[in-house]
């Protein structure tokens, strides 16, 4: 027993170190991949890489997932695993009940211009899961937030998919979603400190504010900017009398064909 304990302790130490490094390693790997796509020449980008940069990694899509990752790190292991499973379940609900969800969300004004408010709904729900007082209430609400975030992500993937049939796009969206949550959650869990709930609550309040303001701004029709009158005096534009700069053969035909001007019609067609 005593002979095995040092090797067992060493093995446990290695496992603990691996567990601690898994989050940052996952984050670094994903960031390297995203950087490689972003730095690739724009001309050589496929539809998939273009979609990843413009939609899957858009701030409105990433922020709620970051918040969900932080919430998972703060919750107990049982609730975290449950929330992760429910996030997957939410994704499935979103993909398979897309038509039902879209018909429910289409009553929102200008729905198509803001992807059916999927970003704001996710942000507000995840934000509430971070801000709520009491660890128990927060943990229970996290389960609801995970389902909502998953289903909203699925709807957002479906409505932004430019290919409409390429399986790689929803698959990439799901992988990126799980990657963001896992990288944030594992990193925060590995380096957890007693003061973590403070920045987590602040992050939650930002997510709620972002969701409500973005949702509100999306519902209002965009106004034209009211530019102040120019301080520069308007130059006097007076038509200068003189010969027409255009030679006759370049003049528009409607100028030449008019009342009193004979129109030669070799084909014998009637004018409209």
């Amino acid at each position: 027993m005593s002979q095995h304990s040092p090797s067992r302790e060493r093995r446990l130490g290695v496992l603990a170190t691996a567990g601690k490094c898994s989050g940052p390693a996952l984050a670094a790997l994903g960031l390297l991949g995203a950087a490689a796509i972003a730095l690739s020449p724009a001309a050589g980008r496929s539809t998939l890489t273009w979609w990843i940069l413009s939609s899957a990694l858009a701030p409105e899509r990433v922020l709620p997932l970051v918040g969900l990752g932080v919430a998972l790190a703060l919750a107990g292991r049982r609730y975290s695993l449950g929330a992760l499973a429910l996030f997957g379940g939410g994704l499935a609900v979103g993909f398979f009940s897309k038509d039902w969800l879209l018909s429910a969300l289409q009553a929102i004004p200008r729905a198509t211009s803001h992807h059916f408010l999927t970003g704001p709904i996710s942000s507000v729900t995840v934000g509430v899961a971070l801000v709520l007082p009491g660890a128990r209430v927060r943990s229970w609400f996290l389960l609801i937030a995970a389902v909502v975030a998953g289903s909203m992500l699925a709807v957002a993937i479906e409505v932004t998919d430019p290919s409409l049939h390429d399986v790689a796009i929803p698959l990439a969206g799901v992988v990126i979603g799980f990657w963001i949550i896992a990288a944030i959650s594992l990193t925060a869990r590995a380096f957890r400190r007693a003061w973590f709930p403070i920045p987590a609550r602040i992050l939650g309040s930002w997510l709620i504010a972002i969701g409500l303001l973005y949702g509100g701004a999306s519902l209002i029709p965009k106004q034209r900017p009211a530019f102040p009158p120019s301080a520069e005096p308007t130059p006097n534009i007076v038509p200068v009398p003189g010969p027409n700069p255009l030679p006759p053969f370049l003049e528009p035909p409607q100028d030449r064909v008019g009342p009193g001007i004979p129109y030669e019609n070799p084909a014998g067609l009637q004018q409209p």
């Binding site: 701030p59 409105e60 922020l63 803001h114 970003g119 801000v131 709930p197 403070i198 920045p199 609550r201 602040i202 992050l203 939650g204 309040s205 930002w206 709620i208 504010a209 972002i210 409500l212 303001l213 973005y214 509100g216 701004a217 999306s218 209002i220 029709p221 965009k222 106004q223 900017p225 009211a226 530019f227 102040p228």
Partner: protein, 184 residues
């Protein structure tokens, strides 16, 4: 010569995306000082207020933002923004420790003024989503900076360094208040 920084808070032209939203609180000294002071004051009071003030601010800011977006009239916004800098500076200078609800009410009034200024710009923004994300993140980061500085300066010299910063913030408030008063 009077400054016009506070009066320049609400702009009439359209804004851009994430970059201009993020830069807005950082480049507006009145907004920056108020956000910084919220974090600093919360840290100076200690306890729950370390996080309740910075959490309450953006949540109430939404109400002001909505009023600005829908074009509801709110007179004296620039005056309120300038007053927020002065009041928060004074609170830090005198290490005022009111009841939590009182501090939250004060913060809420100021948050409505700051939110209104941002909300009035939002319908003009080229990309409202990115603009909002930018300015909320920047606002929150200034709060966190204020908390960090407040916690760091809380103990050395009996908190006098933090109170000295409060004096500077209060002077900034007077600087913004003079033109804002003339505008109001």
């Amino acid at each position: 010569m009077l400054p016009d920084s506070a009066a320049a808070h609400i702009t009439s032209t359209g804004s851009g995306g994430f970059g201009s939203g993020f830069a807005h609180p950082l480049t507006g000294p009145d907004h920056f000082l108020a956000m910084f002071a919220v974090g600093l004051w919360g840290a100076q009071m200690g306890g729950r207020t370390v996080w309740t003030l910075p959490v309450t601010f953006p949540l109430i800011m939404v109400a002001g933002g909505a009023a600005g977006m829908f074009g509801l009239p709110l007179p004296g916004v620039e005056f309120g923004i300038a007053l927020s800098v002065l009041a928060l500076g004074l609170a830090i200078t005198f290490a005022w420790h009111p009841a939590e609800w009182m501090a939250l009410c004060l913060i809420a009034v100021f948050a409505i003024c700051h939110g209104y200024a941002h909300g009035a710009e939002l319908p003009l923004a080229a990309d409202p989503a990115d603009y909002i994300i930018g300015f909320v993140l920047a606002t929150g980061l200034i709060h966190v900076l204020g908390i960090g500085v407040g916690l760091g300066l809380g103990k050395p010299l009996g908190g006098r360094l933090a109170r000295g910063l409060g004096v500077l913030i209060g002077l900034g408030g007077i600087y913004f208040l003079v033109p804002a008063f003339s505008v109001a």
